[in-house]
């Protein structure tokens, strides 16, 4: 990426920063040279109220004659101060009120402030992001996740922050690009949110002669009004959810991303991948690749949002001891390699580089090894509390769900009821925490229609428990997946391959899986 590992900024970023400074300097110089010669000793960055009153007195005469120069000069200075976070822009707003009156003053201040905030945003994007990435990667990813989660209501939150004096505007300008607030939301929030504050200040600027100190400016009434406006803007997010209509659910479902399986054809028949808010059962004969698929899903759920994934964590409940951590490591390496290949054209890394390390992926898989059905029931019950504490778990894989229930249970009716309780609990988790539950199941031989056939274990007593059911089988020399039961997906079949990188598409020249 053309980056010196010690210094987090690349050459072009430093060049861009210098360029911005230069253009502002140029603007100021242009103004300076086009103004008529006279005594400009009063021209300095306003620091106190007296400075403003001075400036106002001196500039009033120029305003009508040299409006353009004054406007350009004003804007340049304002933008300069905002971009480089120089305090004192409040004085500039007062000045605008004093020089141009209410309406034009507010328009000018809002324009200049938005332009300044935008340029500060871009500068922070270029310089601040890589800097903070390298200094505080984990705190940063925490905040990024918080912002990503509130994506739909982000405008309301930003408006609230702009309107009320909760956070200083400079901080908002600098922090927004670092936590991935998109520019259009930032722009809208700034241009609308600054209007009330600008209005208050500009109005005060008109009566600047009467002002004793800045404290008079923000009296209790003004601040209360600002807070009121802020609360109005943020209220929609606080209203609690009532029962949903199907329309709400549709829009929610469309926004919820599915978990990719790694094989595009398989994703296609699944409607994009394994759906959250649903329980999916996957069954097949030994050796077909159920555990491989389970591990692949536990890895793919962690693909960061910026790369098109869910950025979540995984819970893996292992009842047979089939989870091999070396294989998980192999699959993770394959997933990361594919991500880099896909997003090769982006020069800058979309996320902190430390997130795309195999160890971070491994640390996000929570593993429970259950050795009896009691432990399995206990684990599912305990998950209720666990999921409250770990809100970013997006998939629960149980490998395999019926193993311990096929023996040791003397009372079969009791077994059915216990299984039913477990399955309804899992179903509840999907709805409440918006995650996917994947149950891997074994096959067994059953005497059906006079011959022995392979069917899913505990099939009949268990069949109502899952939303979707997928069967993996051999078709000649290829592995196939077949949608056996689903309320929304068509019955279809897709081929897939188990490679050293994990589950992938079947390549047309189905040549050898090379051993590493």
């Amino acid at each position: 990426m053309g980056r010196n590992s010690k210094f987090p900024l690349s050459r072009c970023e430093v060049a861009a920063a210098v360029g911005v400074v230069a253009s502002l300097g140029l603007g100021l110089a242009a103004v300076y040279f086009s103004m008529p010669s006279s005594d400009y000793s009063f021209l300095k960055l306003p620091r106190t109220l007296e400075d403003i009153q001075d400036l106002r007195d001196n500039l009033e005469s120029y305003t009508s004659d040299y409006t353009i120069q004054v406007l350009v000069g004003y804007c340049t200075v304002y933008i300069f101060m905002q971009t480089f976070m120089i305090p004192g822009t409040i004085f500039m707003s007062l000045l605008a009120g004093a020089l141009f009156g209410v309406v034009r003053g507010v328009a000018l201040v809002v324009f200049a402030a938005t332009a300044g905030a935008s340029s500060c945003y871009f500068l922070s994007y270029l310089i601040g992001r890589p800097l903070v990435f390298s200094l505080w990667p984990d705190k940063l990813s925490f905040f990024q996740k918080q912002v990503a989660r509130r994506r739909e209501k982000l405008l309301n939150y930003m408006l609230f922050l702009r309107v009320t004096p909760t956070l200083p505007n400079t901080f908002i300008n600098v922090a927004s690009p670092i936590v991935d607030v998109p520019y259009h939301i930032f722009f809208l929030a700034t241009i609308i949110g600054l209007i009330p504050a600008a209005y208050v200040t500009v109005r005060a600027g008109i009566a600047i002669g009467e002002l004793r100190s800045v404290a008079d400016l923000y009296d209790f009434q003004a601040i209360a009004t600002l807070f009121l406006i802020g609360i109005v803007s943020v209220t929609p997010t606080l209203i609690s959810r009532r029962a949903q209509t199907a329309w709400d659910m549709l829009s929610e479902e469309q926004m919820q991303k599915p978990i990719t399986t790694g094989c595009e054809e398989l994703d296609t028949i699944l409607g994009g991948g394994i759906q959250c808010k649903a329980v999916t059962e996957i069954g097949g004969i030994p050796g077909i690749g159920k555990t491989q698929l389970g591990i692949q899903l536990a890895v793919n759920v962690q693909i960061p949002v910026q790369y098109g994934g869910l950025g979540g964590k995984a819970v893996y409940i292992d009842t047979e001891g089939s989870f091999m951590v070396e294989r998980a490591h192999q699959i993770i390496e394959g997933c990361i390699a594919d991500l880099f290949e896909k997003f090769e054209h982006r020069k800058q890394s979309l996320v902190c580089p430390y997130i795309l390390q195999p160890n971070s992926f491994l640390a996000n898989i929570f593993y429970f090894r259950v050795c009896s059905y009691t432990e399995q029931i206990a684990a599912v019950n305990y998950l209720e509390k666990f999921l409250e504490e770990h809100k970013d778990v997006k998939i629960i894989v149980v490998d395999s769900i019926t193993f311990h229930f096929r023996r040791d249970f003397d009372d079969l009716a009791m077994r059915t009821r216990v299984l039913g309780g477990m399955s309804s609990k899992l179903m509840r988790f999907t709805k409440k925490h918006n995650l996917a539950v994947v149950l891997l199941n074994q096959v067994t031989t059953k005497f059906v229609d006079g011959s022995f056939q392979l069917t899913l274990a505990l099939g009949d007593s268990w069949s109502h428990a899952c939303t979707n059911r997928i069967i993996l089988y051999w078709n000649g020399n290829e592995r196939h997946a077949y949608i056996d039961k689903s309320p929304s997906l068509r019955s279809a079949s897709a081929p897939f391959q188990v490679t050293s990188k994990g589950i992938r598409n079947v390549t047309s020249n189905c040549k050898r899986v090379r051993m590493m």
């Binding site: 004969i285 030994p286 050796g287 555990t291 491989q292 047979e320 001891g321 089939s322 091999m324 951590v325 070396e326 294989r327 998980a328 490591h329 192999q330 160890n359 491994l362 640390a363 996000n364 898989i365 929570f366 593993y367 429970f368 090894r369 259950v370 050795c371 009896s372 009691t374 432990e375 029931i377 206990a378 684990a379 599912v380 019950n381 305990y382 209720e384 509390k385 666990f386 395999s400 193993f403 096929r406 023996r407 040791d408 009791m414 009821r417 216990v418 309780g421 074994q442 096959v443 067994t444 031989t445 051999w474 000649g476 020399n477 290829e478 050293s500 050898r512 899986v513 051993m515 590493m516």
Partner: protein
Amino acid sequence: MSNKLISQMGLPSSLANVFSARNILTAKDALSLPEFDLMALLDVDRDQVRTAVARISEIACPPCRTALSLMEDRALTGGYLPTRLLGLDRALRGGIPFGALTELVGPSGIGKTQFCLKLALLAALPSSYGGLNGRVIYMDTESKFHSTRLIEIGRSSFPHIFNSEGMAQEMAGRIIVLRPASLDELTESLQQIQLIILQHDVKLLIVDSMAAILVGENERSTTGQKQHSCHLPLSFLKSLAEFSQIPIVVTNQVRSQNNYEVVHYPFQGIQWAHAVTIRLIFEAHSGQRFIKISKSPTSPAIAFPFLVKSSGIALLSDEGLEVTGSEMSTIRCEGLNVLVEGAEPFPHLGC
């Protein structure tokens, strides 16, 4: 975990008393009942039952670990017993893994016991020669273990070790041979083995073969019992492997009716198939014998041709043949004298 006593779980004493009054003493008793049944039995309301069950579950639940900590543990223990067969070790990424169940399956007389003998030797060798420097427990159910053959293998493969004074004796002395005659004896030995493993630094457990014991057992016991009897050693072995982090190798037999039959699942059928981590199929066809990696989490299905020599098993080629499709799990026994046991296979066994 499931046998933890409710009285020691820190529930409020009134609730704990109610549980013990109704004879629900362990976590297993409490969690085997659905919620409503518990409510009816204990005569308490739903919220109390819920909090009690949540508390019991929290304690009975196995500890949560991240995959990262599993990886770190793995790195500490080493992880593999190399088989010294280059192609096989490369495919399995090291060899027979620790902490997992490896199954060798194939028709009788093909070479499984030879392979086991070699493995036993390799585990007993000192670490300077690439071994595990530990003891080996060899459970021989069919009286196939011959110490003379063992020494012969040792002499051919590692002449410099075995020809030196006393080494042969010491190596052979590290291999403990048990001969359980029935399933009960086997289960009993298994229970004791857990202790032996810890005390005597056992590095490998070989069970040769499971099938012999369970055949006899199945012919004797009733249908209901069959389900339980073959699951018990299976799950026990698995948890033993994980707990003590040693490799456990189990051999299994193929039942077939004809001499050249293609069999899909070995004896003990599908339940076994799901439970083992690595399955190596020994088969014969086209005049050669093959070791086929049928089930492995890290390797695609590959078959290596082999021969049985005086030094044990030797691969004829280190680049295996690829195997695809349903051939992965079939076992061909052409041209070998297959031992036919009993009249028909037992597919209706849940095993």
